[in-house]
């Protein structure tokens, strides 16, 4: 066997290794977006499938921007998009407020405790997402654990309306996405040289000043990654607003779902998805940048 064929076989094998996942993703990840884009320019009809073709039999273009025009002029949709952004953003900030001190505490714990505390953060993440949201239904119910407990204490006489409110949605979002905030923050805080904080104290900074001058700016990449990892999925959330939110809880994921399954308006559902994607492109690209930079810095 000559060295040339050896080399050829290795090259072939490398190509094969790239090609299999590449082709898979082209078919099952990229192509679907082309299809969504195509259907979002169709009109809904009562047929199978329930939308008009992109070209008529003569090859003339039938695509329309009507769905997008509708989305951008319809008050209900605009409000829903804005409400989704504001709810996702609020949930993100709440996650940060709770997650940062937690990540900080874990990173500063002794190495044995640290490993267990970290496990306890990750553990709920492995337990069914749906069941975790469901657990809150039992707590927040009018006759649920929290109301029963408060009434037993005598703080309230009648049950508080906790479930089916925005409050419940925030609880659900923070609960479900908290680990996504804690993990990147932990990763960066754990790596941080503690001498830097000591140095700031040594140079005359009070502990709070040392935090804002040193810890916070150095943790910023983790803050950004954590916030995006919470914000992006929270924007498209369907299950939480459905189970914990009231009927008027309009989040875009739920509207998309209903538009597709209840109203069977596929083109509109597709354009809802495309607009949502457009709104998320900026944060997604931002996230990829920050992670690529992180990987580059580590190498």
């Amino acid at each position: 066997m000559s060295a040339g064929t050896d080399k050829g076989r290795d090259m072939l094998w490398q190509r094969f290794t790239v090609a299999i996942p590449y082709i898979w993703l082209l078919i099952f990840f990229l192509a679907p977006f082309a299809i969504i884009l195509k259907i979002s320019t169709a009109d809904p009809i009562i047929a199978q499938p329930p939308f008009t073709p992109t070209f008529d039999d003569g090859g003339a273009l039938l695509a329309t921007a009507d769905n997008y025009k509708f989305l951008l002029t319809d008050k209900l949709y605009i409000i829903t998009y804005l409400k989704s952004v504001s709810m996702a953003a609020t949930a993100t900030i709440l996650c940060l407020l709770l997650g940062f001190p937690m990540a900080y505490g874990i990173a500063r714990a002794g190495s044995a405790a640290r490993s267990i505390l970290l496990l306890l953060v990750i553990l709920p993440f492995w337990i069914s997402f749906l069941l975790r949201v469901y657990a809150w239904m039992g707590l927040l119910n009018n006759h649920g654990v929290i109301n029963n407990f408060l009434m037993w204490l005598g703080i309230i006489d009648a049950p508080l309306q906790l479930i089916y409110t925005d409050f419940a949605i925030y609880i659900g979002l923070v609960y479900s996405y908290l680990p996504f905030m804690i993990l990147p923050l932990y990763a960066i805080l754990e790596r941080m040289d503690l001498d830097l904080v000591d140095a700031a104290l040594d140079l005359g900074a009070r502990p709070s000043q040392a935090f804002w001058d040193v810890t916070w700016p150095l943790a910023r990449p983790g803050v950004i990654a954590g916030c995006l990892l919470v914000f992006i999925p929270a924007m498209g959330e369907y299950v939480i607003p459905y189970l914990l939110g009231g009927p008027e809880a309009l989040m875009i994921g739920r509207v998309l779902f209903d538009e597709f399954f209840v109203n069977r308006d596929w083109p509109l559902a597709s354009s809802v998805a495309i607009v949502l994607l457009m709104m998320l492109v900026v944060p997604i690209v931002f996230l990829q940048r920050s992670q690529a930079k992180d990987a580059g810095g580590a190498a």
């Binding site: 290794t17 679907p32 997650g99 937690m102 306890l120 069914s128 069941l131 654990v145 597709s270 998320l280």
Partner: protein, 277 residues
Amino acid sequence: MNRKTSRFVLSVLAFGYAFLYIPLASVIVYSFNDSRLATVWGGFSTRWYGELLRNEQVLDAAFLSLRIAVTTATFATIFGTMAGMALSRFGGFRGRTLFAGMIISPLVMPEVITGLSLLLLFISLQQLIGWPAHRGFTTITIAHTTFAMAYVTVIIQSRLSGMDQSLEEAAMDLGGRPLRVVFDITLPLIAPAMVAGWLLAFTLSLDDLVIATFVSGPGGSTLPMLIFSKVKLGVTPDINALATLIILFVSISVIVAWYAMRRMQRQTEKNMQTAAK
């Protein structure tokens, strides 16, 4: 050396962990509630566990979910490992940027979009080539593999980038051809990451509701889909029992896996250190 952790941080930690675990604890407690009214305590009972195990609908859905999860995890690990190696060991190749982008994107794509887009793909394919004729096991598995492999890729990639490439170079220097080196050196070294990836893909698949709801057809109900249809109507005691079983099963598996991986990691580190000496 440990620095004093402030009282504020300690109280937030305590609050955070209570926040994470009280809901789970309450589900477990109420699963032993005799009352049909899930929120009123009616004495201790295990009757809901019995009813759960006699409910064929639940068992069928659980079996389907497990089959999908095992298949998904296996394919996702194979593809994810290939992709991870391609991205961290092959240097630049044509279309690398697109490839890296496609790998990362499913991680952050809202599920409703992934689900909708794949459903529309399957419908279009069916019209064009007649496949897939039914939506169910196959379509859900494909959908799950697509987003789970992204997670596996990230795990493999981070493991490979943290790993000293000199080991592989040494093997090649000693006359190993690249393909042999992969099987003799690289794969054994990333095996823990592959196991972690498999478990993660398995869990993600088992956990998914939204994507499965989109790409499944009539009759193909996974366990989350079944739970969701029941939960929509409110808190029910048999779901409490099911949730308890899942929580216990997952907790035990995760703790065992964590413990095993920690030991393995320590062993590897020790070996590496010994080798480095």
